[in-house]
Symmetry: C2
Amino acid sequence: MEFSSKLLEEAVDQISLLPGIGKRTALRLALHLLKQEKEHTKRLAEALMDLTEKIQYCGSCHTLSDSEICEICSNPSRHNGQICVVEDLRDVMAIENTAQFQGLYHVLGGRISPLEGIGPQDLKIPSLIEKVRQGEVKEVILALSATLEGDTTNFYIYRQLEGMEVQLTTIARGVPIGDELQYADEVTLGRSILQRIPFEEALKSS
Amino acid sequence: MEFSSKLLEEAVDQISLLPGIGKRTALRLALHLLKQEKEHTKRLAEALMDLTEKIQYCGSCHTLSDSEICEICSNPSRHNGQICVVEDLRDVMAIENTAQFQGLYHVLGGRISPLEGIGPQDLKIPSLIEKVRQGEVKEVILALSATLEGDTTNFYIYRQLEGMEVQLTTIARGVPIGDELQYADEVTLGRSILQRIPFEEALKSS
């Protein structure tokens, strides 16, 4: 593309670095911003800066948070005896949307995937085991994707927790096999939390 | 959506104000930015700020420009006797890409469209007429969309220029190069027959 403005070219280049956005879409977005009030673009730019400068990961559950400990972990009305283990921040959002779970979360940051070179050491598994070892956790609910990698991760955690006094459950396979958690509908996802079953039972039926 | 972070929510809200980007895509983009180096997001935010703060419209042709007069208008090797009239900055870019035009441009900023409430007074037509009146322009090339609105705008400019010593031309309309004749629409094909040109002329420009 031939630009009459280096500033426009730079903006288009930067926007088109975003996933799924090509040069033509980037140009459309840049021209859209130019038609808006300056205030609008300023708020967008500031939100992006704040996002990367100020956001942190909760020291307890590893979700994205505005403070050292996230709102969920620091909420005294949540049951700290229940920990729901998920892969991703979006899974926390999806489960919170169902309003079916009153415990806490633990965000692994992914799942074991030899193909993608992700091993247990790349995930927040040690801090989960440590939480359980401290004794206050009564139940660990596995809520990973119903995929081979999710199952592998579930099994790894199961082995790590063997011998500890904690109930290990997994959400009901109401979530369609092969689907990612964040795309499940609220009712199915909510019910799958209510109907969780002991992990060893799940092992038998898989 | 339930967000564990207000900063994330604000970023998603701002991103989803862009045309064609929903909340889910905005979230995906925000999480993508969080995975990148901070430098990356900073460059994006700065490019957006610079775009709205520093960019201007060329005082001569009204395209977007980093300076008072754009690079094309201030390029001494371009022919200032030819003015190509287009609707939009993107048309300038498209024509520049062909490397077939050495004259200057004039960006109207749209086309006359009573349905959208856009009249001649909303477009940069007076400055075009003024340019021609000054006498250096030998040819005005109309390169607007081949639509009713484009035709209306062309005709309006034609009437405004009546009596002035300037050649008024319009870009050729016809069957696109590489297209099979049978797939061309009737109007285009009909016009391409009416506006046929000597074969030797076509040979020269191929």
